[in-house]
């Protein structure tokens, strides 16, 4: 919980920090260039996209190296470059970017995973007509996501956040001819918007309280002790300080983006987009932006906690995260769409990250974010490869036995699945999940989150085993035989599989490199950590839980090859519970009869008001003017002589009433000028009397 101990305000920034803006800008410019390309220029588009992101990756690695070098010399790097964007009166709105361990780690992760997915997309989207448009959106997304990562200002972050939301909308609805895709895009956009409104309120409130939206600004930023002290002192409502209330508002935005309860409904539907999109945006990066946001504003969330204690905001984060983790894992058990299972799994894992942030601090949550990004991208791309090989089939019950037909995909998928399940010792997911469980175990406020997360781990192992048994074991139940995907798709899988294993090494309790790096203290290698009291039992518990989950899954589904028409193995046990889970616990239906029904009725009422009341008022005014016009015509026709009529006609053709003084006769002008002076003087003298 002790974040930022070693950070001292740095007023000078290194040259790489000054160049940091290039990382998001280059992909964005590439997207702009691609938007001008004609449709058939496919090669140019993908080359531009991959080239620009490769450049970003290179620069990110340099930035990362700079931060690591500074850290290894014992100084925690936090360099900011700020500038005034606009000023009104005496207040400024400043923007800027920041290079610190948090942003450096995210930069490398986003650009590396992004680059692999870009390469994979070349194969996956090869036959799509709108290939150029796809890469244009993808590049814009990558640029905006990197922008979110480097922002040192809540406002700049919000701008990029919205661009990211826009590209998510565009890419979910990429196949907009499919009604389901169009509806899913709309749903994603509207649902995340609900969170964003609260987020924006939080931003405005923060600005009103502190006068700045910069995170770090040499002591004057909003995440620095001076501003936090002021926020703590300002009361909000219901015993919350302004810091707590603003933290909760920002968390609402994060919950929308990261699919936390109760705003998770859009994420499973978002799987209507192309699979690389699901992998990049809806598994690895964008949905993690909410988690990253909480990590970024962690000083605010944590403000006011005593040593080892917690705050209201963090308690809410923890409970929402833990509930989401269990809730989504339960639903994932009863899904049959290969991508939907992964989508619910993503929601569940995001819940883990939030809970990790809430109970264990930035390093715990972020470590799971990073490992999850790699293995979940791997799983999604593996799923894409399966879908590709099975001729666009997505129902796991119509697959089977693919370990023979698609060996490369099988091996990499299995690695991803074991990492996600938290298979002991070998895989990164084990270590990151274990860190969360450990912090939950140590959490003093309540032990329930620990048990919930443990149950979630059991479910995770179970549903992943179920899915893998369906897809890769047993006999083939599809129509046309499956085939392995091209190398351009399998190579990224292999690279990601490597990271899914290797990343665990930097976060084991014996060598907490990642934690030390993020929190700015040194990390030594101590095997003795494993011997700490309470540690081995914890590892043993989680190992047992994982094995129970995997074993149950294998016992129920392994090599059974049930057909789509048959009842599911669990359905035989309890059809009612199975039905609830299959129907996603009726959350969508609940929203249908509450929120959506309310809006529908409200729209009806507004429509009625518009037609009858306001429309009537407008019609009344119109009628009044029409009758006035009729009267005028009568007046005109019968009372005014022909000359005036002619003048009116001229007015009608030449312009309105006001243009009529514009006779073009300079004598008139001069007369009017003199008249105006007299009238103005009269007004003035008359008004100053009283």
């Amino acid at each position: 919980m002790q974040e930022g101990l070693g950070f001292t305000p740095q007023l000078t920034a290194s040259s790489i920090a000054h160049l940091l803006w290039l990382i998001p800008t280059v992909p964005m410019v590439a997207a702009g260039a691609m938007s001008l390309l004609k449709q058939p220029r496919r090669r140019i588009a993908s080359t531009l996209a991959i080239g620009s992101l490769a450049f970003s990756l290179l620069l990110s690695l340099v930035a990362f190296g700079h931060v690591v070098a500074g850290w290894s010399h014992g100084e925690a790097v936090r360099e900011t470059v700020n500038f005034t964007w606009l000023q009104f009166g005496t207040s400024n709105v400043d923007l800027g970017w920041v290079l610190d361990p948090l942003s450096a780690v995210m930069l490398v992760m986003v650009s590396l995973v992004g680059l692999l997915i870009f390469i994979y997309s070349v194969g996956y989207m090869a036959h799509d007509e709108n290939y150029t448009r796809f890469f244009c959106f993808l590049s814009l997304f990558a640029g905006a996501m990197l922008g979110v990562v480097i922002s040192n200002s809540l406002l700049l972050l919000f701008m990029n956040w919205e661009i990211v939301g826009l590209t998510s909308y565009l890419l979910i609805g990429f196949w907009y001819q499919k009604p389901a895709a169009a509806a899913a895009a709309k749903k994603a956009f509207l649902t995340t918007r609900i969170g964003d409104i609260f987020f924006l309120l939080g931003i405005v409130w923060l600005f009103a309280q502190t006068g700045t939206l910069l995170f770090y600004n040499g002591g004057a930023g909003s995440m620095e002790p001076l501003a936090l002290g002021g926020l703590l002192a300002a009361p909000a409502a219901m015993g919350l300080s302004a810091a707590g209330a603003i933290g909760l508002l920002i968390f609402a935005g994060a919950a929308g983006k990261s699919g936390q309860l109760p705003l998770h409904v859009w994420l499973p539907d978002a799987m209507e987009g192309p699979t690389p999109v699901s992998a990049l945006i809806h598994a690895a990066t964008m949905v993690a932006a909410g988690v990253y946001l909480i990590a970024r504003v962690y000083p605010l969330m944590q403000a006011g906690s005593l040593a080892g204690g917690t705050t209201t905001a963090l308690t809410v984060v923890t409970w929402v995260g833990a509930s989401t983790a269990v809730f989504a894992a339960l639903i994932a058990v009863a899904q049959n769409d290969i991508k939907r299972i992964l989508a619910y799994s993503t929601v569940s894992q995001l819940g883990y990250m939030m809970a990790g942030l809430g109970m264990g601090g930035v390093a715990v949550g972020m470590f799971h974010l990073i490992t999850h990004a790699f293995f979940k991208a791997l799983l999604f791309m593996g799923a894409g490869s399966v879908i590709h090989g099975c001729h666009e089939e997505q129902d796991v019950r119509r697959m089977g036995g693919l370990k023979v037909d698609m060996p490369l995909t099988f091996v990499t998928y299995a690695i991803g699945m074991l990492a996600l399940s938290g298979f002991p010792l070998l895989f990164s997911g084990f270590w990151s999940k274990d860190a969360i469980l450990e912090s939950a175990h140590k959490w003093q406020a309540n032990q329930w989150p620990f048990y919930m997360l443990l149950f979630g781990a059991l479910l995770t192992a179970f549903y992943m085993m179920r899915q893998v048994s369906y897809v890769f074991f047993g006999i083939w139940r599809g129509h046309k035989p499956a085939h392995e995907s091209p190398a351009v798709m399998t190579l990224p899988l292999a690279i990601l599989a490597f990271f899914a294993i290797a990343l665990g090494a930097i976060g084991t309790p014996a060598w907490p490199w990642f934690r030390g790096f993020l929190e700015g203290h040194s990390a030594g290698f101590e095997l003795a950590k494993f011997g700490e009291p309470g540690f081995l039992p914890l590892i043993a518990t989680s190992t047992v839980v994982v094995f129970v989950g995997l074993g149950l899954g294998w016992a129920l589904y392994g090599n059974r090859s049930p057909r789509a028409e048959e009842q599911d193995a669990l359905e035989k046990v309890s059809p009612m519970v199975w039905g609830w889970l299959r129907d996603r616990l009726y959350v969508d239906e609940l929203y249908g009869v509450t929120v959506i029904a309310f809006y529908w009725w409200w729209a009806r009422v507004a429509d009625w008001l518009d037609r009858r009341v306001w429309g009537g008022a407008v019609a009344g005014v119109t009628w009044g003017f029409r009758s006035l016009a009729h009267f005028n015509r009568f007046f005109d026709n019968y009372w005014v002589d022909g000359g005036f009529d002619k003048g009116c006609e001229e007015m009608a053709t030449g312009g309105g009433l006001l243009a009529r003084v514009q006779t073009g006769r300079v004598q008139t002008y001069l007369r009017l000028l003199a008249l105006a002076v007299v009238v103005l003087a009269a007004i003035l003298i008359w008004s100053s009397r009283g």
């Binding site: 002008y669 007004i683 003298i685």
Partner: protein
């Protein structure tokens, strides 16, 4: 002021005059046989160079001190410097637009007159004395009359010039008459002294005479900025003048006149009391008055109250008449004329509610500079369309995006900026201005006037979109591409890029304007 100071203060003006004479000598003396395009290019570039030198003088004047005795004719720095820099940049852009506009054979004279008129603009931006104001105004106005008449073969041009001249002459007569009253009442021609004298006068009861004098001054200045009810010349002049001349009238002359109004406003609030510091040295930012702690306490408005009333009435009338009459126009030039009247109304609102600090002055300068920039681009684009189609009717813009997509994009950017659509610069201009008005006074009247201004901005969107609708949506009657000469295209692209970039980074120009008020104090010299 001694002569050395006067010389130093008028260095930019001198540079422009020298450039004007140089242009005449080169054009009439050496290039009589050369092709018209060469002469136009040489004359325009010489003029641009003159503007550059003058700009250098303006920008490097900071830091110097101005000694004064018992009078103050001209100032340097502050609002004056910002306005002068703006005038010079806009003049240079106008001159560049001239290179491709073949409406006259007398390019040397045209450039010469433009430069001399710009000199008048520089003078009135810095003037602190009624006589200097009048001389500067006449120098500017006479130049504009000639420029309007410059298309000798066009009867329209001659007619509009004559109207402009007659109207301007009568306004000048009113202005001078008003000045004579002011002098008679206060015993001085210096603005600072007049304001200070007015505090004593308001008790005497010379009320009607003051009011009359102020209204007459307002009439003279209202004519320059085309505010209702002194706007009648504008539509005819905008329609008849050659395009570069119209651009010049709409931009440079506006900036200069509003700079003068800012001077009047800031001196009315912060007059410099000569009697208290008989021998002093003023820092260079003097044109924003001298704000020391003792003067900062608001004085009773006395002099200012009726002046603000006149301006507010003119503002409201201009916003209403300008925007509503623009709705009915078919000629795009007349449309721009009425839109100019409307914009003058918004700015006058800012002048009617003028702040003690620099906020209002900054917002108004921001508005006029960016408005001038946008208008020059708009007239440049209209000039191109006119030459290609022979008409400035809205119909001439039909299918423009097919005939020349880049030109259409420039028109789109400029017109949307005029309408005040974010993130273009016109939005920030309006935002700053209205925010400044409300920060000065947030009573029912000012709220109502700002509401009127915002509402009228919404109305203005309609007529701007009328033009854009023809350029982008309505079917083309003629698909023939429109060629734009390279220099004109360059100017148009520069202007459009400026409108977009300054809009995306509003702090750049705001910061630059604000940087002209470094220290607000004055140094007292020991007596003797």
């Amino acid at each position: 002021m001694n002569y050395a100071d006067l010389f130093r203060v008028t260095l930019p003006e001198t540079a422009l005059e020298v450039a004007a004479l140089l242009v005449l000598v080169v054009d009439l003396g050496f290039l009589r046989k050369a092709a018209l395009t060469v002469r136009a290019a040489v004359a325009a570039l010489l003029g641009v160079a003159g503007c550059g030198v003058a700009l250098w003088f303006v920008l490097t004047a900071g830091g110097a001190s101005l000694s004064f005795g018992n009078d103050l004719l001209l100032t340097v720095g502050g609002t004056a410097a910002v306005a002068q820099a703006g005038i010079l940049v806009l003049t240079a852009l106008t001159l560049l637009l001239l290179i491709d506009a073949a409406f006259t054979r007398h390019v040397g004279e045209f450039v010469g007159v433009v430069l001399m008129a710009a000199t008048g603009g520089l003078v009135i931006s810095a003037a602190q004395d009624l006589l200097v104001i009048f001389v500067g105004l006449e120098l500017l106005s006479l130049g504009l009359y000639i420029l309007t008449a410059f298309a000798k073969k066009s009867a329209k041009s001659a007619e509009s010039a004559l109207k402009y001249y007659l109207f301007g002459g009568m306004s000048a007569a009113f202005l001078l008459f008003g000045f004579s009253y002011l002098y008679g009442l206060s015993g001085s021609t210096n603005l600072h002294k007049i304001v200070i004298a007015s505090y004593a006068l308001s008790t005497v009861g010379a009320w009607p005479l003051w009011a009359l004098a102020l209204v007459m001054v307002a009439a003279g200045l209202g004519f320059k900025v085309a505010a209702v009810p002194f706007h009648l010349w504008a539509p005819d002049t905008y329609e008849g003048a050659p395009a570069p001349a119209a651009a010049f009238i709409a931009s440079v002359s506006k900036v200069a006149s509003f700079a003068l109004l800012i001077t009047v406003g800031s001196i009315a609030l912060n007059p410099f009391d000569f009697s208290r510091t008989a021998h002093g040295v003023l820092r260079v930012q003097l044109s924003f008055g001298v704000i020391t702690s003792e003067v900062l306490t608001p004085r009773p408005l006395g002099f200012l109250a009726p002046w603000a009333t006149v301006l507010a009435v003119m503002a409201a009338a201009s916003m209403l008449v300008g925007n509503l009459a623009a709705l009915a126009q078919i000629s795009v030039r007349r449309l721009l004329a009425y839109s100019a009247i409307a914009h003058a109304g918004y700015i006058l609102l800012g002048l009617a509610y003028f702040s003690y600090g620099s906020r209002s002055a900054n917002a108004i300068l921001y508005y006029t500079l960016t408005y001038g920039l946008t208008t020059i681009g708009a007239f440049g684009a209209i000039g191109v369309v006119e030459r290609a189609t022979g008409s400035d009717r809205m119909g001439a813009f039909l299918g423009l995006h097919k005939r020349n997509p880049v030109l259409a994009a420039v028109v789109l950017v400029l017109f949307l900026s005029l309408a005040g659509i974010p993130p273009l610069v016109g939005f920030w201009a309006k935002f700053n201005l209205f925010a400044a008005v409300l920060s000065v006074h947030a009573g029912p009247v000012s709220l109502a006037l700002v509401a009127l201004a915002v509402g009228m901005s919404a109305v203005s969107l309609y007529y701007y979109l009328q033009v854009l609708k023809r350029a982008y949506v309505m079917p083309a009657v003629n698909d023939e591409p429109i060629r734009v000469r390279p220099v004109t295209m360059l100017v148009l692209l520069l202007v459009a890029a400026g409108v977009v970039l300054l809009g995306c980074f509003p702090a750049v120009l705001q910061g630059w304007i604000a940087s002209f008020y470094p220290i607000i104090d004055y140094v007292r010299m020991p007596p003797g």
